[in-house]
Each structure stands twice: as structure tokens, then as C-alpha cells.
Symmetry: C2
Subunit: 242 residues, 2 copies
């Protein structure tokens, strides 16, 4: 029985998960190789089988391992970065990549929700929504125009916040709604005269058009956004599973 890293406050199943992850990343457990059985790992680390199991299932969820009943658990090719599945915030993700980001708020006002917005946010047509129109820059070049709508009822105080420098999602969390999920519809379109003028491109230039509906942890729709992304400067990577 090997001893686990003696870190207090860290659950055993997390320790075991991380030990396995390390073995995989280091290459001690190679791609396609069978890892020790649940029973064996339990004995090795002196924990119960269910504890080992919990750690393993986490890694399976991440795509690092896979298993077949009756056969065993095997190392998958550790290629899929979980990040690509993840919903990330514009500021965080761009800064991580070392890109200089900024945004200019073009307009903030309370307006009545038109039908499409109301349906998306699950509120009555005509109810007040906060409309935030922002131009986002990467390395000082305008890349994306954002047309966001959020329910006024839930976020009234947000109007007095500094929207230009603070992440909208952080503000939402401050007011009790933790952003959790998004559904995005993607299309390729021509920019058209209006978007072209705002972003500063040719009206016939291709745009990655995105309709984004964002939900809080409890399923409340908290944001509906139209995004117009410069086709030549913006790409989106997503992961999907069967």
C-alpha cells in the first residue's frame, strides 16, 4: 500500500484521481494500457473500492480514461482539452492567451422586450430588459459587436456599475445568479451595412453570427445576446460528445 500525499482537507477520491492523472500525463500509464483494477487500487492506497471508483469516474467524465464492463479501465489518448467544452468569459480566456482585450460600451438603456428577447429570457413581451451594446477589441482591433439583453427585474442595480471594465458575469454573480450554461446558435452571414460600419469592415465581409442564451445555475435565463464576430479574426472551438 502506497501512501497518498498527506494533504489535509483534500478528499481521498480527489487525491487518487490526481495520482492517476499524473501517472497518465507522465506516461507511466500509457495510452490504451489497462490501469489496475478498482480492487487493486483500493488495496494499494488503503481505501475502499467506492472511493477509488469515484476518482476514476471523474477521469472518465473528462475523457482521460474509458472502461468496459467485464474488461477493465483503460487510458484514453489524452487529447481532448476539457476547456473547449467550457463556457468561458471573454476577458479571462483572451487574457490567458496573452491577447490584449478591451471593450467599449456603445449603449446601455432599459427597453421593453420585443418578442424574440422575451421568449428567450422567459419573460412577458414588453417587460423591461437592459440592453447593453458593446464593441470588443482584441489587440486594439474591433472584433466583435455584442448586443446583450438581460432582465431588468433581476439586475436593476447593474445600471450603476462600471460595465466597461467589469465582467458582466461577475456582476451577475454579485446579484445572486451564477452563470452556468449557454446555448449558442451559430451561422455565417454577410456583415451588412450597419455591422460593417460599427466594426469597420466591408459590408460583404463574412461574419460569424452567434445567438447566445445564457442560464444561471438554477436554470434562470439571465442573458440573451447577439454576437457579430469578424470572420477573419474570430474562430470558435467547441467540443461535443456522442
Amino acid at each position: 500500500m502506497t501512501t497518498l500525499i498527506s494533504t489535509e482537507g483534500v478528499p481521498l477520491y480527489v487525491k487518487i484521481r490526481e495520482v492517476l492523472r499524473t501517472e497518465i500525463i507522465n506516461g507511466n500509464l500509457k495510452r490504451g494500457q489497462k490501469i489496475p483494477s478498482e480492487d487493486e487500487l483500493a488495496a494499494r492506497y488503503g481505501v475502499s473500492r467506492m472511493t477509488v471508483r469515484q476518482g476514476i469516474l471523474d477521469l472518465i467524465d473528462e475523457g482521460l480514461l474509458y472502461r468496459r464492463q467485464g474488461l477493465g479501465t483503460f487510458v484514453a489518448f489524452p487529447h481532448i482539452e476539457r476547456d473547449h467544452t467550457r463556457l468561458t468569459n471573454f476577458f479571462e480566456s483572451a487574457r490567458q492567451k496573452g491577447i490584449q482585450v478591451a471593450q467599449k460600451i456603445l449603449d446601455v438603456q432599459v427597453v421593453p422586450a420585443r418578442r424574440k428577447i422575451a421568449e428567450a429570457l422567459d419573460i412577458p413581451v414588453g417587460e423591461a430588459v437592459i440592453h447593453i451594446c458593446a464593441l470588443r477589441y482584441a489587440n486594439y482591433v474591433a472584433v466583435t459587436l455584442h448586443d446583450s439583453y438581460i432582465p431588468e427585474k433581476l439586475f436593476t442595480p447593474i445600471l450603476s456599475e462600471n460595465l466597461e471594465d467589469t465582467s458582466l458575469w461577475d456582476l451577475m454573480e454579485k446579484y445572486g445568479y451564477r452563470v452556468k450554461r449557454a446555448i449558442q446558435k451559430l451561422e455565417a452571414r454577410e456583415a451588412g451595412p450597419e455591422i460593417a460600419r460599427l466594426i469597420g469592415i466591408d459590408p460583404a465581409a463574412p461574419i460569424l453570427y452567434k445567438e447566445r442564451k445564457i442560464y444561471a445555475e438554477d436554470g434562470t435565463p439571465v442573458e440573451f445576446t447577439f454576437c457579430y464576430n469578424r470572420g477573419d479574426l474570430y474562430s470558435l472551438t467547441v467540443a461535443m460528445e456522442r
Copy 2:
């Protein structure tokens, strides 16, 4: 204690999960409402707490419930269709929507992998790959041009199959590789003369360009595809989580 549906062969945790799901869909458990505690459900259905827990965690994974330690488990707004996260096969998904689908194979041949393909499929540059070029139709209109590459070594016998009428993924499964995950990079582009001619659109028309890398269950890259989708007829919906 309520009795569960007496279905043999169905695990208890699945039954409990489905009972809860039904209650949520029926509206007996309403949005935002606290569901009974794990202990109470265990008592009610005469099973152990861990069994209830397993069912609940499944529903949390699906986004139907959420929970906070110390507080309880609550019903989320059941809006997010799991399907949008799912990687689906062209034939399956289109037919479900009642769209008439077909494809025409323009070219099938074994070629040496150029650098980009080789890197994606994790094989040496120059190794044999099967190139499949297909035009896909929805309701008899050409919508998408597919440029797929699959490792020849893994799928040699596929060359003698009927590629036009059979799903490539089904064939792959037949040869031992179950398609599981994909990473897709999306961009908006101009069609350009070649794609425009093949699909039959204007060379300046916007195209949703997609680079798709597909992995089998064990992490093996099994397909790398360039997709050119007509901007005006194709949209893609994806779900993401934080």
C-alpha cells in the same frame, strides 16, 4: 414508502432518477423548488441513500437539478436540451427533424497525409489516409461539402463499402472504433470559387467553415474533416457549460 415501478433488469437508481424526472416534467416538482432530501427519498422508496444519490447526480449532470451543500437539492428550469451538447450523425439528426437527406460521393481515394492531416490524425506525414469528398443535400439542395480524411491503416476494408448510403460512423464502429468525441473549430469565410462551384452559390457568399476532428472512445483520432456549409441554409447549435 412508495413502491417503484416493478421493472426487472432496470437498476434502482435509474428508476428513482426517472421518477424524479417525471415529477419535474409533470410539474409536481416546480422550478426552483426544493426536492425531498436524500434521506427522505431513501426512506420513501425503501432504498439506501447512496442509491438515491446516484440517481440525483445523474439529473444534476443533465442540468435538471442543482444542489448546494448544507441547503438541499433544487429543480432547475428544464430548458437545456441535452441534445445540443451531443455529437450527432448527419443522417440521424436530419431525419429526426423530417428533413430529406442525401449525399453524393465526389471522390474516394487513398492519398499520403499532408502535414495538417497527419498532425490531426496523429500519424506520420506521408502515411496513407483515405480521402472522402462528399456533397450533402438537405431537401434536395446542396448544403455542405465535406472533405474527410481517415487513417487507411485502421479502416482499409472501408474502401469496398457503400459509402453513399451508409453512415461513416456506423462503418467505423463495425471496424472496432466507436465514435465518441469531436472538437470542432468554426469560422465564417467567403465561399471562394472552388467551393462556390461545387455547392452552386456565389463565390462571395458566406460559408460556415468547420474543421472537425473526431475521436473514438479510446481517444484514437479516427477522422479529420473540413466542412463548408452554406451560410444561409446551415446553422449549428451548441451547448456549453462553465
